[in-house]
């Protein structure tokens, strides 16, 4: 059984981005880029399923600039068997990515596709659900636990009031939440091995997919700044301020 894991190259989660003064975007010059943290979690899950003898192949797919090859090499160092880059300079929005992954899934015929719950740059939280819709598959989103047996995936999902467990027929889409697992670090020998693993490159046109954006970015702005307040000396002063100044208690 093949597992496909879409991995996105994003600004590292430790970076606080700056909005460009002309409002056309965020400043990405010299900014550290990494694999979307949720995608590391998805990969870890897929690699564990391979180690458990349930999956045979783990394939990482990334869509975007040529630099996404680095992200794919990282994925292969973590344990993906091979990588696929869909290369384009277009601003890719979730619907376009879902269609690209659909085209790859048609070629590869995976039984499970594990997306991240959310990319930490666009904060869209859409692509896995969209892909599931295009394929007509079940979607087990925001997963914190996954078990596979007898052609069924049993997935515990984080929901607003707690958690729920669902049973889905394969093929299935899973989107990983933070507590699904703790991803491993790539070791040096595995980083070396990853360099030799196969990496195929396609263009959206090769796959017959139109990736034209549906949303136009009008402007990007900084959020209103919150000014730091004061330090209080003790709890007496804190309570006095909350009562008399802020009037919130």
């Amino acid at each position: 059984m093949k597992i496909l894991v879409p991995v996105k190259r994003v600004v590292d989660y430790n970076v606080k981005v700056r909005v460009k003064a002309d409002g056309t975007g965020v400043d990405l010059a010299n900014v550290k880029m990494s694999m979307n943290p949720f995608d590391e979690i998805s990969l870890e899950e897929a690699v564990r399923l391979k180690e458990a003898g349930i999956a045979t192949d783990v394939i990482a797919v990334s869509c975007g600039l040529p630099a996404c090859q680095e992200t794919l090499r990282t994925a292969m160092a973590i344990g993906a068997d091979r990588g696929i880059l869909v290369e384009t300079a277009e601003d890719l929005q979730p619907l376009a990515v879902a269609k690209l992954i659909q085209a790859i899934a048609k070629k590869e015929q995976p039984q499970i596709v594990i997306f991240g719950k959310q990319a930490i740059d666009d904060d869209a939280n859409q692509t896995g659900q969209m892909f599931a819709a295009l394929m007509g598959w079940a979607q087990a989103t925001f997963a914190s636990k996954v078990a596979l047996a007898n052609g069924l995936a049993t997935v515990t999902r984080e929901i607003d009031g707690g958690a729920e467990t669902v049973e889905c027929k394969l093929p299935v889409v899973i989107t990983s939440d933070l507590r699904l697992n703790e991803p491993r670090y790539a070791t040096l020998p595995n980083i070396m091995k990853a360099k030799k693993k196969p990496l195929d490159v396609f263009k959206p046109a090769d796959l017959g997919i139109d990736v034209t954006p549906r949303l136009t970015l009008v402007n990007i702005a900084e959020p209103p700044k919150r000014r730091a307040g004061i330090k209080v000396a003790d709890v007496q002063q804190l309570v006095a301020k909350l009562r008399n100044e802020a009037k919130v208690i």
């Binding site: 600004v11 989660y13 606080k16 981005v17 909005v19 929005q93 979730p94 619907l95 930490i120 740059d121 904060d123 869209a124 859409q126 692509t127 659900q129 969209m130 892909f131 599931a132 819709a133 007509g136 598959w137 079940a138 979607q139 989103t141 925001f142 914190s144 984080e158 929901i159 607003d160 009031g161 707690g162 958690a163 729920e164 467990t165 049973e167 889905c168 939440d177 507590r179 549906r214 949303l215 136009t216 970015l217 009008v218 990007i220 702005a221 900084e222 959020p223 919150r226 730091a228 307040g229 004061i230 330090k231 209080v232 709890v235 007496q236 804190l238 909350l242 802020a246 919130v248 208690i249």
Partner: protein
């Protein structure tokens, strides 16, 4: 006149309050507002939806296979209902985020996540990069599929409307998913999304026992909801639905206490729109103090009991 469809959030017994925020976002766009209720044995929900101020019609799909409101089944229902609507909206909750991208893909349109403002009927503001870059986006699609952030749109009145309820045909049961169990965190406290006061704790609390022992009396005193940082959830101090932040819940209460929380940007993303922020942290350089109105540099294990005593 343009028509907008708002997906009701409910548990078959009652309407969830966030639906009122989603209707408020629809009102900002303008047009005739319909509410879709898909569920099983949910007539009471439809009746409640019909009373919402500003709602013109309730469309009710009551069928057994909507009991769990799985996105697979509900999405094809919404798709079947979509013709004639310019906008389809839901609250940006776990449920809305699960459903609307699926609807959008079936309609071959973009989905616009978690809007915080309406500029015009086709242009919206939404946070990106954990709220550090507010994007204004314009949609060229015929149907705009939108989730709205509850804290950004003041709820419309739950009473005052008198909409007609129209029963609609259910769509097929795809039978792709079976619910095995649901564990809802039981709490007598207000919901995080609705609370006026929130007491949140972080890794600084040290253990589940201490989290409860130190923060519960404070929350009791203030009739507050309890929240947490991701580190506190990961360490098992509290259940996952307590998590506030970029990838947890977005809150904006009148008063937010961050206790033993450092203030990572992912946490700030979830609470920085609170009216008044209080931080208690023993590290005077903790980033949380950069957004706190009132910061107290102290050991929380001494400060919180003293605070409770001072509140009287």
């Amino acid at each position: 006149m343009t028509k907008l469809l708002v997906i009701a959030e409910h548990d078959n017994a009652g309407l969830k309050a966030v639906t009122l925020n989603a209707v408020a976002a629809a009102q900002k766009i303008g047009g005739e507002i319909h509410v879709l209720v898909a569920g099983s044995g949910c007539v009471a929900v439809a009746a409640a939806a019909a009373k919402i101020a500003g709602v013109a019609q309730v469309r009710l799909a009551d069928a057994e296979h909507y009991a769990e409101q799985t996105p697979e089944n509900v999405a094809i229902l919404v798709q079947a209902q979509a013709a004639g609507y310019s906008h389809i909206l839901a609250a940006a909750t776990g449920m809305g985020k699960n459903l609307l991208p699926r609807v959008a893909a079936l309609l071959d349109v973009a989905q616009i996540s978690e809007i915080t403002a309406v500029v015009s009927p086709d242009t919206f503001v939404r946070p990106t990069y954990a709220g550090n870059a507010m994007a204004t986006v314009q949609s060229a699609d015929a149907i705009k599929v939108i989730t709205a952030r509850g804290t950004a749109f003041d709820a419309v009145a739950a009473e005052g409307g008198d909409a007609a309820i129209e029963a609609i045909a259910a769509a097929a049961d795809l039978g792709l998913v079976r619910l095995i169990g649901r564990e809802i965190t039981q709490s007598a406290r207000p919901e995080l999304g609705a609370a006026k006061v929130i007491v949140s704790g972080g890794r600084g609390l040290g253990s589940r026992e201490k989290f409860d022992e130190v923060l519960e009396p404070l929350a009791d005193k203030l009739n507050a909801a309890l929240g947490a940082s991701r580190a506190a959830v990961d360490a098992g101090f509290v259940p996952n639905d307590y998590q506030v932040g970029q990838t947890g819940k977005i809150v904006a209460p009148s008063l937010y206490f961050a206790i033993g929380i450092s203030g990572a940007l992912q946490h700030l993303a979830g609470m920085k729109d609170s009216k008044v922020i209080v931080a208690i942290n023993k590290d005077e350089d903790a980033p949380i103090f950069q957004v706190a109105d009132y910061g107290l540099v102290a050991d929380l294990f001494q400060a919180v009991p003293a605070l409770i005593a001072e509140l009287g």
